[in-house]
């Protein structure tokens, strides 16, 4: 079986895409911490549930960005194939 240079690049791109998605660990931890503190805040002050929810969701969506950058890199490597 002959492995051409392009095959090698495609295989390494797939490995790189898998490594890039490890970036999802960070937002997972961050969103979990935000949700935990949100739950604690609702427990302390149930009247402010609406405000706490919207602030928590905003913070989580912003924290999600770094994970999405990893996802974008993975998608670029898999589907756009910039290195081939």
């Amino acid at each position: 079986m002959n492995i051409t240079g392009e095959d090698l690049i495609l295989a390494c791109s797939a490995i790189g895409a898998g490594l890039a998605v490890i970036a999802g660990i960070g937002p997972g931890i961050g969103q979990g911490i935000a949700a935990g503190h949100g739950a604690a805040a609702v427990g302390r002050n149930p009247g402010a549930k609406g405000d706490i929810m919207s602030t928590m969701l905003l913070g989580q969506a912003v924290a999600e960005t770094t994970g999405l950058y990893g996802l974008l890199v993975a998608m670029l490597l898999l589907f756009v194939k910039p290195l081939v």
Binding site: S54, L57, A61, L68, L72
Partner: protein
Amino acid sequence: MNNAILMSAGADNIDFMIHGIISYKLFGQTVWITTSHVCILIVMLLMIALAIAANRAMKHAKEIPEGFQNVIELMVEKLDGVVYGTMGKIAAPKFVNYISTIFVFILLSNISGLFGLRPPTADYGTTFALGLITFCLIHITQFKNLPMKQIWTDMCSPLPPWLPIWFPINLISEIAVPVSLSLRLFANVLSGTVMMALVYGLLSKFAYFWPGALHAYFDLFSGAIQTYVFCMLTMTYISQNYETE
């Protein structure tokens, strides 16, 4: 789409790319009218139809609202409440129209995946244009409302203004605002689109009824959250320039 990795998984009907429809020459470059343009056109026609219907309904407005007038009043009141709550009484009247418009536009774009369109916000061209508008608004309001001296002090912020070592770093953080805003929206909607395409392409024999739950999460929940986040961040960035008043 010639894709070795997905082809080897036995799926040749996975399709989430943007397709060109008509090409034309412009200054020697080939420019494409793509599916994103068509989907944006559909969303815009829907918005225009909604606006005309709302205008009709409000012309015959009744003291006790009923039917469609209720829906319009509810929408406008909710959006007004969000904008006034975030931006304050001075800045809000200038931006409430713009923020409400992009809110409805992004929301309809994100939800359009539910109706079989490819969401226009899953094209980086759309979201980057929205990010650029936000960037221009931030800096126009900044130069309008703050004195030059204070802008310079802010740009050199941790160090005193006569020592502009931090100026390049602050400049990069200013440029990162529209990029991160647009990439956040784009990547969220794109990930939903790709996930649904994979579900329908790879599990096409089993994909009955239960992808509805995925649609509810990716299209409705995630789309609404990202719309809210985009508008919220735009408002926060703009209203930072009004703090001194």
